[in-house]
């Protein structure tokens, strides 16, 4: 109830802000606003293991939060000039549209209609995810095509429901969908057998399985029924700010590719490679083109690490989520991560 009310209240409030505010988005100048304010307002998940959550000391941890810090490093030369704004899925776009936040880094799937009807622009993909299906191993199901008449538990808020229909309808498979607003109810309904199948992004299913009494009791089916490229989002019509966000992410990926880590970035300043020199601001003036300090990329890596370090720290096999790199591997190692060149 309170969540419902607060959601509606927030929406109402944002609508009022959108109506009354002088004009948050006539902003060719998000960068100026951010610099004047002295911090980046970054929209994140309220609580999502591995992506964005507050630890026992109240510090935001997670992959998405680290992307926010990287942007802060690029703009201010310090990773802590971020104010995290926890947003649920229903109000995240409105918060960005109305200028409540500067950038949304919140497990948000890049889709055509979102890119073209919301007045928003997406940065580069930071995580390639896909919707999967998990079942009880006892059922002996080997493939999603066997799921005729099954009951499927899912969460609203994303395109999960639509993906399910896009996948099953052409195959003539009928099913019962049970949609839960609350994560706990959703998981419990699955564990207690109300639903035969639980569906979400594969990374999310991994964390559901991690909290089961006996994780081995559940299997994730091989099919990935949708593409879920997660990317940061900014407002349209401010290409400078979009470039800053995009190239901050690209710098993370390129740094991993060139072997630049948080630990060795200072040595790499002596590198003879012209591309590394340009990126780290030893030569050229790439930073100035972004209206940033020439050391912007150096600061990102020195203060936060590269993409690989982000992944291992928050999502990797040593963490509770225990994800493998999969498609989120460099293109040179058979993955999809590919940064355009720094020149």
């Amino acid at each position: 109830m309170t969540r419902m009310i607060s959601k509606i209240a927030t929406l109402g409030f944002l609508a009022a802000v959108a109506a009354l505010a002088a004009s948050p988005a006539s902003a060719q100048a998000t960068l100026d606003t951010v610099k004047k304010r002295g911090k980046v307002l970054c929209g994140v998940s309220p609580s999502s293991a591995g992506y964005s959550f507050a630890d026992d000391k109240g510090v935001r941890k997670g992959f998405d939060s680290d992307v926010c810090r990287a942007i802060s490093s690029a703009v201010f030369g310090a990773p802590d000039k971020v104010e995290f704004v926890p947003l649920n899925t229903n109000i995240r776009f409105q918060a960005l549209q109305s200028g409540e936040i500067d950038v949304l880094s919140r497990q948000t799937t890049l889709t055509f209609s979102r890119d073209n009807s919301l007045g928003l622009d997406f940065g580069p993909v930071v995580f390639y995810d896909g919707q999967g299906l998990m079942v009880n191993a006892k059922l002996g199901v080997k493939s999603a095509s066997e799921l005729s008449q099954a009951a499927i538990c899912l969460l609203p808020g994303t395109t999960t429901l639509q993906n399910l229909e896009d996948f099953f309808k052409p195959r003539g498979i009928k099913y019962e969908s049970v949609v839960f607003e609350d994560n706990n109810e959703w998981r419990n309904a699955f564990f207690s057998g109300r639903c035969d199948v639980i569906t979400s992004d594969r990374s999310d299913l991994a964390s559901v399985r991690a909290v089961a009494n006996d994780p081995k009791q559940f299997v994730i089916l091989p099919e990935t029924i949708s593409k879920e490229p997660l990317a940061p989002v900014v407002r349209q019509n401010d290409s400078n700010w979009k470039d800053i966000v995009s190239w901050s992410v690209n710098a993370l990926i390129a740094a991993e590719e060139y072997g630049i880590t948080q630990a060795n970035v200072d040595e790499k300043l002596q590198s003879k490679e012209p591309e590394i020199q340009r990126m780290l601001g030893v030569s050229g003036d790439l930073g100035k083109m972004l209206n940033l300090d020439n050391k912007w990329a150096y600061n990102i890596i020195k203060q936060n690490g590269n993409y690989g370090e982000f992944f291992e720290r928050n999502l990797g096999e040593s963490t509770r989520l225990g994800l493998t790199r999969g498609p989120n591997q460099l293109w040179t190692k058979g993955g999809l991560l590919y940064s355009p060149p720094f020149r």
Partner: protein
Amino acid sequence: MAAPSSNPLRLLNDLRVRAVLYQVVAVALVVGIGLYLFGNVSRKLAEQNIATGFAYLDRPAGFVISQSFIAYDSSNSYARALLVGILNTVFVSIFAVLLSTVLGLVVGIARLSRNPMLSLLAKLYVEALRNVPLLLYLFLWYALIVAVFPPVREAWQPIPEVFVSNGGLIVPSLRWSPAHSGVLLAALAGVVLAFVVAGRLRRHRVATGIERRAWPIVLAASLLPPLLAALLLQPDLVVNWPEKGRFRITGGLQVTPEFTALLVGLGLSASAGIAEIVRAGILSVGRGQWEASRSVGLRDGQTMRLVVLPQALRVIVPPLTSSYLSTFKNSSLAIAIGYPDLVMVSNTTMNQTGQAIEGIAIFMLVYLGMSITISLFMNWYNARVALVER
């Protein structure tokens, strides 16, 4: 005598003119602010290239809904999906209101019982239900249903072909066709007809004083329309038997656990409030009324039914209206336990289209419209039972 309106400003001295003027100014102000906000939102949204308007309602929804009273599949429009949500909301609310009224009436009367055990039980019931938030009860009922009943594959069969599991209650049903709907409508018409006939007979009895046996005529009036419809339309009597599949049981009439939990949660919680309203109503009828009806030889049940409750209704109906309204609005908590009501369908729609302002506007308008309908009906009923001054 000079015309009072020779100087327009002097009109302001007239109290009635001033009263009207204040109202005109107030309305103009509210409408003006509304128009300004609306214009501003539209302009800003357009400036930011954000899609606006209700054109999206015609686009295919692309998602399935687990419970629907009208034909619906994912290729239908968003508008139809919303209609399915609205019907689900209305359906569960009507049943919850009926349940809460019956339970509330029984418990309210039981609280006033001279049997201490019964009145204590009723008191416990009321206090337990109205002192815990409804949302927690919904979680409780849902968790109980899902945890206590076995999974579908091990469903209980208390009677052959009736399945009870945490996937819901499944009973055999008739294969529904338009002919069946026709008979159902005729049956409703029969009920209305029976009421009309009963009213006429009563008036006739009061006017002439001649006592005639009324019930055969009333019964005939209620049965005639459905029988006629059945003869004319000849619906097929094909039974839709439940069938066990690999995962689910298909066919038959299925009552989902989400619906049951919501119905029980809403109905029980509201019944506690209604019990108190009924108790207050009965207590408001003076002792003299009881004593008087006993002295003319009425039994306790008759006294309650014929003398006390009709008078208590005057006190009961206004707060009862509020209780019905909250039940209706509280049905939006459905979203917590997976019942596909209006709010859930709206949320999915908003997430897929990104048009949240329109989505919120639609569901607020629907709730407002339906709440006003309930209020109007209850006000009409209240006027009927109100004290008629002679």
